[in-house]
């Protein structure tokens, strides 16, 4: 027990300041004042891997480490979409995951936010669209914020998540069309 306590004391507090939200990532002007008032900053997130290579998942995991300490900001990952305010979805959406993703979206209570993560989630990435892949997340469910990167760094993820919950008048922007590979 003493070694544990000593290690905790020696390690100290590693948590860094939260980055500023990246409002330029907001792709759809769907965020309403009312939504933000309802959710506030005590946010619960359900992460859905809809077909990623798991690189994005590793960086989402990193958000919980002491440096980023996402729970310290009142943001928590939950085990069920029914408990979630936000879906954090990585892609590309494999055809095999399309039904599960839609069901997860339907199971998430309104008002809800959807954040697409990674180059694949935003544009289909290197996998693109094919017999097995539907490409970007927005091809399957409505997306509020897209966080590009392969994978996005934890800082970029935090900036995107914060953008989704702090934006007041998001700029209108049309999502880019994704490229077909086959």
């Amino acid at each position: 027990m003493l070694t544990i306590l000593r290690q905790i004391a020696v390690t100290g507090i590693k948590t860094e300041a939260m980055p500023a939200p990246a409002d330029e990532n907001i792709v759809v002007a769907r965020l309403q004042e009312e939504v933000l008032r309802t959710l506030g900053r005590a946010l619960t997130i359900r992460q859905v891997d809809a077909g990623s290579c798991n690189g994005c998942e590793l960086e989402i995991h990193a958000l919980a480490n002491p440096y980023y300490n996402i729970e310290g900001a009142g943001i928590r990952f939950v085990a069920s979409p029914r408990h979630a305010d936000m879906l954090l979805v990585t892609g590309p959406v494999s055809k095999h995951m399309a039904i599960a993703l839609r069901r997860t979206y339907d199971a998430t209570p309104d008002p809800k936010l959807v954040v697409a993560v990674g180059d694949c989630g935003c544009m289909g990435g290197i996998f693109g669209e094919s017999y097995a892949s539907l490409g970007r997340v927005a091809n399957v469910i409505p997306v509020d914020v897209a966080i590009p990167g392969c994978p996005p760094t934890p800082t970029a993820l935090l900036q995107g998540i914060l953008a989704a919950i702090t934006a007041h008048t998001p700029p209108k922007a049309e999502p880019e069309s994704s490229s077909r590979t086959e």
Partner: protein
């Protein structure tokens, strides 16, 4: 593997790893596999390619390996309606590979088990994506299939379906538990949910650019896959890699191992109810990733390994930082290891939990890190030491208990060993070029890549087409061999221990579903 008893002679395949290619007839296929099994060979991969456009029907490839190298058995199947002999009677792990090969290429084995494996009703069941005349239709909608799970019957037996969307931040897959009370009688996995057409996608990329796709087969093993791919290209093109590049590749591979082992040890502590472990190990992992970003330009070192070498050299200042990080990490890891070892609650969760005893591991072909925790003493870095592993001489870390505790111990041992290797790599790093031009590989050649990633041996078979195109590329993850063993390791344990057992295996879904 010596097949001379069957009158078979192999042709040596060029490349860094010793490999022979052996054409077999229908009568010789099973005999060759059985002889391989008797000689201690293990199944690495099984895949089929469509060679009808070259008037050769379909070709079944079975890659086996032993201490002498890789033996690639090649069996020609005249047309899609002819079945080939069932290999899973000799190598059980072949069952799912054969079913996957049917889903993608449309050639079946003679096995009784003809259930789909990667097919989940998203394209017509009579269309096969890896047949050369396959054309996808945008009209195909995702559908639902009814999969014949094996049911357990009896008083009080009930079924728990889990997934594909899981409770944690993990990849999707379906698990079907048959339980009595808390006790697991049977687990059956249903994978394929993250099938995104990687093998087909390879065929639309050029040889010189597809290392990026290889590096995204399974994100946590990006260095291992990119290196295996580069190895295959270099074998076909007969290209040499500058010494400094080989050393930097090994440095990246060992740092990938370090990062993943640190992450796993944290989550294993957490799943054992010890959140302190997660906080500590995830902090150390972040330190590694941040230095990766500075030194290699990417936190996970994606796109760092390229055919011909590596994408960038390592600045002296970062080499010094990596060298300094090794003893600093080692100091902290030893403190944390003592804490884990002496924590009664944690050890109570780890010991005897999720056992895969050595005889079962040998029979089912458990490989990589999990195999080494179950007495399967294979490690490509030691068995076929390519530069720089011939100089830095990694030690093989093995255990025989085959439980969660053994897999934790192997991770700790390999972590400390990889830190030693990283120090040796920096100390012995020579100056010079880090990339050499790769001539365009000739068409219709086969090249293999075989790299010991953190999870186990990562295999890539690459066949070139004309003008720098890819004719066929089959990436194969060690998880193919290990997923079926997880089903066995869970039997008799309680349901709440499943996340811990699953984490201790930490297998890839993406790298398996392709």
């Amino acid at each position: 593997m010596n097949l001379s008893g069957l009158g078979l002679v192999g042709a040596q395949l060029p490349g860094a790893i010793p490999a022979q290619r052996v054409p077999v007839s229908s009568g010789q296929l099973l005999a060759a596999c059985r002889l391989g099994w008797e000689q201690g060979s293990r199944l690495v991969a099984l895949w089929i390619s469509d060679d009808r456009d070259r008037a050769r029907g379909f070709c079944l490839h079975i890659a086996l390996h032993d201490q002498e190298g890789v033996t690639l058995l090649e069996y020609t199947i005249p047309d899609a309606s002819s079945a080939y002999p069932d290999i899973s009677t000799i190598f059980p792990a072949a069952n799912r590979m054969q079913r996957a090969a049917f889903d993608l290429v449309g050639v079946a084995s003679e096995s009784d088990d003809q259930r789909p494996w990667l097919w989940l009703a998203s394209w017509p069941i009579d269309k096969f994506p890896l047949q050369r005349d396959f054309v996808a239709s945008p009209k195909w909608e995702p559908g639902e299939e009814t999969y014949a799970f094996v049911k357990v019957e009896g008083d009080g037996v009930h079924e728990i379906p889990v997934g594909p969307v899981h409770a944690g931040i993990i990849e999707p897959g379906h698990f079907r538990f048959q339980v009595v009370g808390e006790k697991v009688l049977r687990l059956e996995e249903r994978l394929g949910y993250v099938h995104k057409g990687i093998e087909k996608r390879f065929e639309s990329l050029r040889i010189g650019e597809a290392h990026r796709l290889a590096g995204r087969v399974s994100g946590d093993s990006t260095v291992a896959y990119a290196w295996a791919y580069a190895q295959a290209v270099e074998a076909i093109a007969d290209a040499a890699v500058p010494p400094r590049a080989a050393w930097l590749r090994a440095l990246a591979l060992e740092r990938e191992r370090i990062a993943n082992h640190l992450g796993d040890l944290g989550y294993l502590g957490n799943d054992g109810g010890f959140a302190f472990g997660l906080a500590q190990f995830s902090r150390l992992k972040e330190d590694v990733l941040r230095l990766n970003l500075a030194a290699f330009g990417h936190r996970m070192m994606m796109d760092y390994v390229v055919p011909g070498g590596v994408a960038s050299s390592l600045a002296a200042a970062y080499a010094a930082q990596i060298r300094e990080q090794c003893p600093a990490l080692e100091r902290e890891i030893r403190i944390l290891r003592d804490i884990y070892d002496e924590h009664a609650g944690l050890q109570d969760r780890f010991r005897t939990c999720g056992r895969a005893p050595p005889d079962l591991a040998q029979q089912l072909g458990l490989t990589g890190l999990c195999g080494r925790a179950s007495g399967q003493e294979f490690d490509l870095r030691c068995d076929f030491p390519l530069p720089p592993y011939d100089v830095i001489a990694p030690r093989k870390m093995t255990q025989t208990d085959g439980d969660v505790a053994a897999r934790v111990t192997v991770r700790f041992d390999e972590l400390l060993e990889s830190l030693r290797l990283c120090s040796a790599l920096i100390d012995g790093l020579s100056d010079g070029e880090v990339n050499a031009p790769v001539p365009e590989p000739p068409p219709y050649r086969l090249g293999l890549g075989f790299i010991e990633g953190w999870r186990g041996p990562v295999f890539i078979a690459l066949e070139t087409g004309p003008d720098g195109t890819i004719r066929r590329c089959h990436p194969h993850d060690p998880s193919w061999s290990n997923w079926p063993v997880l089903e066995h390791a869970v039997i008799g344990n309680i349901v709440p221990d499943f996340p811990l057992i699953n984490k201790s295996f930490n297998l890839t879904y993406s790298g398996h579903d392709l």
